[in-house]
């Protein structure tokens, strides 16, 4: 890649993240001091006043650094990224969750990895040395590991963490991949990375830690498992 100026658009979809959005913005600014970036908050009409807090953050950090691009109601993650992309002026796009399970302190390692390797996509992985998860009980770890082994065996995806959603993309690559994805939820994240892999994009991984603070509410019941298996078969057949 040439020595052109690099700008990073960080898309953060939010729904009722009034407190977390402020914390995450602070942490992003703390860890990306010498980087040209913008944060695009795609809020789906949160009733808890998330957008008011974002406006306060805009006063503090500048409206050119924090873009508030809301939508009227919950419209899904995939379309949130597409919506954010429309307003992104960077040549790289980062997607991350707003609930602090993705810590901004890893952003420099994503950027560094991309600069070193010229990769089209850098994806965070929780499952390698240097990464990790906190807040999962044995059952949760078992289902995660089982799901991962199954997906690796069936799909040969080329990445160790398929359902992760902490990723850095070249903007053109994200636009290309997202246009061909139709799934919802975490299967969407899997579809993105598998399609990118099939298209031959250079994908690199960096270890990240994932602190699950929403104990118990991210249940893995029977219906989630069925959804996952359906998603796997769909990806097996269509990618």
């Amino acid at each position: 890649m040439d020595a052109a100026k690099k700008k990073y658009s960080i898309i953060v979809p939010t729904y009722n993240e009034r407190l977390n959005i402020a914390l995450i913005v602070y942490l992003i600014f703390k860890h990306l001091r010498d980087v040209d970036f913008e944060i695009i908050v795609v809020d789906d009409g949160s009733p808890d006043g998330t957008q008011e807090v974002v406006k306060q953050l805009q006063t503090l950090y500048g409206e050119d650094r924090i873009l508030l691009r809301p939508r009227p109601k919950k419209l899904g993650l995939g379309t949130a990224y597409i919506h954010g992309l429309k307003h992104a002026s960077g040549n790289f796009v980062v997607i991350m969750d707003a609930d602090l399970s993705h810590h901004p302190k890893y952003l420099p390692s994503f950027i560094k990895k991309q600069l070193e390797t010229g990769a089209s996509i850098v994806t965070g992985t929780r499952y390698v040395k240097g990464g990790g998860v906190h807040g999962w009980n044995l059952m949760r770890k078992l289902t995660s590991r089982g799901a991962n082994v199954l997906a690796q065996t069936l799909l040969w995806p080329g990445v160790s963490d398929l359902t992760g959603s902490f990723r850095l993309y070249k903007k053109s690559v994200l636009e290309d991949v997202i246009s061909s994805c139709v799934s919802k939820g975490y299967v969407f994240q899997m579809e993105m990375i598998v399609r990118a892999s099939r298209k031959g994009y250079h994908i690199e991984e960096v270890p990240i830690t994932f602190v699950d603070r929403v104990f118990g509410s991210s249940k893995l019941g029977g219906s989630e498992i069925v959804e996952y298996l359906k998603g796997l078969v769909y990806l097996l057949m269509t990618t």
């Binding site: 009722n16 009034r18 407190l19 977390n20 402020a22 914390l23 602070y26 942490l27 808890d48 008011e52 807090v53 306060q56 953050l57 006063t59 503090l60 602090l100 810590h103 302190k105 929780r126 499952y127 390698v128 040395k129 240097g130 990464g131 990790g132 998860v133 906190h134 807040g135 044995l138 770890k141 078992l142 590991r145 089982g146 991962n148 082994v149 199954l150 065996t153 069936l154 799909l155 040969w156 099939r198 830690t209 602190v211 603070r213 097996l236 057949m237 269509t238 990618t239």
Partner: protein
């Protein structure tokens, strides 16, 4: 080529090898007939092994939860000073 086709062609190649073995009689027929079963069982065992090993070596990061709490406190302090509303949600 779609991935499923890749897997399918792999299956076809393995089946051709198996049929070849059946016809060439290098290994006694009775054993050759059982090869597919051995293969599937080994695959299943390998999968279970991978799950077990992965579970034992599952990377955890209890320190990170503490570090996160510190970061949250630091962020709240700073933002409160600057007039951003960080009351509990």
């Amino acid at each position: 080529m779609k991935h499923v086709l890749k897997l399918f062609s792999l299956l076809v190649v393995i089946s051709a090898l198996w049929i070849g073995l059946l016809q060439a009689s290098i290994i006694p027929r009775s054993h050759t007939w059982l090869l597919p079963i051995y293969f599937i069982v080994s695959l299943g065992c390998y999968g279970l092994l991978m799950v077990g090993v992965g579970l034992m070596r599952f990377p955890t990061c209890p320190r990170e939860a503490l570090l996160l709490q510190k970061d949250i406190a630091e962020a709240k302090d700073f933002l409160k000073q600057k007039g951003v509303d960080v009351g509990s949600d």
